[in-house]
């Protein structure tokens, strides 16, 4: 079954919004409780002091996820490097996607941007698993310079989802910045599902597009991971 990793800064009072919890009711969830430490502090030293409290909180969150519908478990990691930890645990549990926290109520429509270098097949297949037989709409957003090619690939993606019984809309933007288009479209959607992009100079300077999307749209973002086999 499809598994989603939900990272949670467990000792900083972070919580998972009810809307996201319900959205993930159709998939298995691994709650990744983490605590980031400054380099002065050996992870082991923090564990000694915080492990018990962190695990008690995690147990409560896992229980809530189970009540929301899916199978859930948890991991607790003390780490100086959050990104490395998310990547490692996502690999180990075979997670198809991980979440970036955001506030949301009940999710009625997902925004799924397909612009740029993303693995469209993986994103669509994840959306199908996530929506399952629920009444959640999907908007496919594509920003491109080539209108006819863009229309063609959007239609193809729409057909893939419609075939599985999903309620799909498409939005094609010709020219312009994919990120701005995503932010403009986000208010009428409660959550974003987007593909992980290959690391680039741009992402190392500005931060990951997925993190920026979460910050700008305020809603939760589900990041569909790239195929680990294809990574160099």
């Amino acid at each position: 079954m499809t598994r989603v990793l939900v990272p949670l800064a467990v000792l900083e009072g972070e919580s998972v919004s009810l809307g996201l919890m319900n959205l993930l009711g159709t998939v298995d969830v691994t709650v990744l409780g983490y605590h980031v430490l400054p380099e002065q502090t050996p992870p082991d030293q923090a564990r000694l002091q915080y492990e018990k409290r962190a695990n008690e909180t995690l147990a409560d969150v896992v229980e809530e996820f189970r009540l929301a519908g899916g199978a859930a478990d948890s991991r607790l990691v003390f780490t100086p490097d959050r990104t490395k930890t998310i990547r490692r645990v996502a690999d180990e549990v075979g997670a198809a996607a991980y979440t970036i926290k955001g506030a949301t109520g009940a999710v009625e429509r997902l925004l799924v941007p397909l612009s740029g270098d993303v693995d469209v097949d993986r994103v669509l297949s994840f959306v199908v698993d996530l929506v399952a037989d629920r009444d959640i709409g999907v908007t496919l957003l594509l920003v491109t310079d080539d209108e006819s090619e863009g229309r063609r690939s959007l239609d193809e993606a729409e057909a893939t989802l419609a075939e599985r019984g999903l309620d799909v809309r498409t939005e094609l933007v010709v020219g312009g910045d994919p990120f701005d288009a995503l932010v403009d479209a986000s208010p009428s959607h409660e959550a974003v599902v987007m593909g992980e992009q290959a690391p680039s100079l741009r992402s190392s300077l500005l931060g990951e597009e997925t993190d920026r999307a979460a910050a700008e749209s305020v809603s939760p973002v589900l990041v569909v991971r790239r195929d680990p086999e294809n990574e160099t």
């Binding site: 400054p38 082991d44 923090a46 002091q49 695990n55 990691v77 100086p80 490692r88």
Partner: protein, 475 residues
């Protein structure tokens, strides 16, 4: 590295009725997995080398050349070479133990598990004190470079400001580490890369000159002007330049692929700095006569830089010296805090010593227990005593480390499965132990008395505080 579980055999309690925290863990290349949580390993080989090289380079290149040449003449290069050999003889066994037990605490951890709680207490507290003395020494070295920097920019304040500046930096590092959450580790890598670049230029130019390629006459002098004995006493003094590899072991719990990276970082950093030290002394003693070099004191390298490359050379060396001594001091403050934590976790010091600050997430108590004595010792300004006591306490640790390797190997417990095995066993660890203890014999009596006193106090603490704690074989 193979995943494995280790048995636990320790226990007992200290005066405060606290017991060692000992749990079975599984070590993988990327994390340490305990029963209820995981500890991410994030330091790579570059990070490990930066800790080792960054800690060592400040002392050996920027502080000792003048002092060493004054004692042993050009043969001071031999003193540094002796130091490198001793350090290598210890770094190899230390690497084996570190890959068998990749935990924070480093050398303390290996010895307490190999030889038991008494040796563990003596070594654990000695490591704390030894790092405190070493850090104070780096700070005083920084003070000299800070005064020279002011001189270069036209503000002559005199050597009276060395100690106040050293103390100020000691206080600043302690406070910044207790309250700061910036990631200085990346900065450390950059600093080390920059230092190596400065040294590469300087040593290439100076080396060509020393070999007569540039056609400038070198001052003629005999290689061993004062006989062989000073070569060995100088080796004992400058051994402080090789303490950094053990600090790599204190972060063993945070290293990625420890089976590969720990030996490479420890042995590699000793080789890198050893070559640099010998080359530096060669260049320095061919630039000036030993007596002249000695008269320049702690910042003699600045004058060597000036002679080869004029004012630009002097400024580059002053700048390098500032960076290097600061990086040594900061890395050592962090290692000291880790050493205190490792001992406190094993109930040899009160558990509150490893408390973490709720606001900053930093180990403020341990940092204070490191910074307080460091500042007091820096205030003495006694470069040679500080360096020798630091070396004394580390050498005891190194000797015992070699002994515990032999003890473990003679009757290998089931859990003992190092990824790296010391080549030349048992010759290397036996020689390592003998050489470590022998080097102590060449120190000034004052340093020997202070160092021995520290060990007696540590042993006394064990009998008072933790005589019921058992650590041997307890993983």
């Amino acid at each position: 590295m193979s995943d494995r579980e280790a048995p636990t055999a320790g226990g007992g309690a200290n005066v405060g009725n606290e017991s060692p925290v000992i749990e079975a863990t599984v070590e993988t290349d990327e994390a340490t997995i305990t029963d209820d949580s995981e500890l991410e390993r994030t330091l790579g080989l570059a990070g490990g080398l930066a800790i080792g090289v960054g800690t060592m380079i400040g002392a050996g290149i920027f502080v000792f050349p003048g002092l060493a040449a004054g004692r042993a003449g050009p043969a001071a290069a031999g003193s540094f070479a002796i130091g490198a050999v001793v350090a290598l003889l210890v770094a190899l066994p230390a690497s084996e133990l570190a890959t068998a037990m990749p935990k924070s605490g480093g050398a303390y951890y290996f010895i307490s598990r190999g030889l038991g709680a008494l040796a563990g207490t003596v070594v654990g507290l000695s490591l704390w004190f030894g790092l405190v003395f070493a850090t104070a020494f780096y700070l005083v070295g920084f003070g000299y470079y800070a005064v020279d920097t002011l001189t270069e920019v036209g503000v002559s304040v005199g050597d009276g400001f060395v100690v106040p500046l050293a103390v100020a930096l000691g206080v600043a590092f302690t406070v910044l580490n207790a309250t700061g959450t910036e990631n200085a580790a990346k900065l450390q890598n950059g600093v080390v890369a920059l230092l190596l670049s400065i040294l590469a230029v300087f040593l290439t130019y100076g080396g060509l000159d020393a070999l007569g390629v540039l056609g400038r006459p070198s001052p003629p002098q005999t290689f061993v002007p004062f006989g062989l004995a000073p070569v060995f006493t100088t080796a004992a003094l400058v051994f402080t330049s090789y303490l950094g590899f053990a600090q790599v072991a204190t972060v063993a719990g945070e290293m990625k692929s420890p089976g590969r990276n720990l030996p490479l970082a420890m042995v590699g950093s000793v080789l890198v700095v050893g070559v640099l030290y010998v080359a530096t002394i060669f260049v320095a003693t061919s630039a000036f006569e030993s007596a002249r070099l000695a008269s320049f004191g702690e910042t003699a390298m600045v004058e060597v830089g000036r002679r080869f490359l004029g004012r630009a050379g002097a400024v580059a060396i002053v700048f390098g010296g500032l960076l290097a001594t600061m990086s040594s001091a900061n890395a050592s403050v962090l290692s000291t805090s880790r050493a205190i934590y490792a001992v406190s976790k094993d109930a040899l010091l009160p558990r509150w010593a490893s408390r973490i600050n709720l606001r900053y997430g930093t180990p403020h108590v341990a940092l204070g227990m490191a910074g307080g004595p460091i500042v007091v010792l820096a205030a003495t300004g006694r470069v040679e005593i500080l360096a020798e006591v630091a070396s004394f306490l580390h050498l005891v640790l190194y000797g015992l480390l070699c002994v515990s390797l032999v003890v473990l190997r003679r009757d290998e417990p089931d859990w003992y499965d190092p990824d790296f095995r010391t080549p030349g066993y048992p010759v290397v660890p036996v020689l390592g132990a003998l050489a470590s203890f022998a080097l102590i014999g060449f120190m000034q009596p004052t340093s020997q008395v202070i160092g021995a006193g520290m060990m007696v106090v540590s042993a006394g603490w064990y009998y008072y505080y933790a005589r019921d704690v058992r650590l041997k074989g307890a993983l």
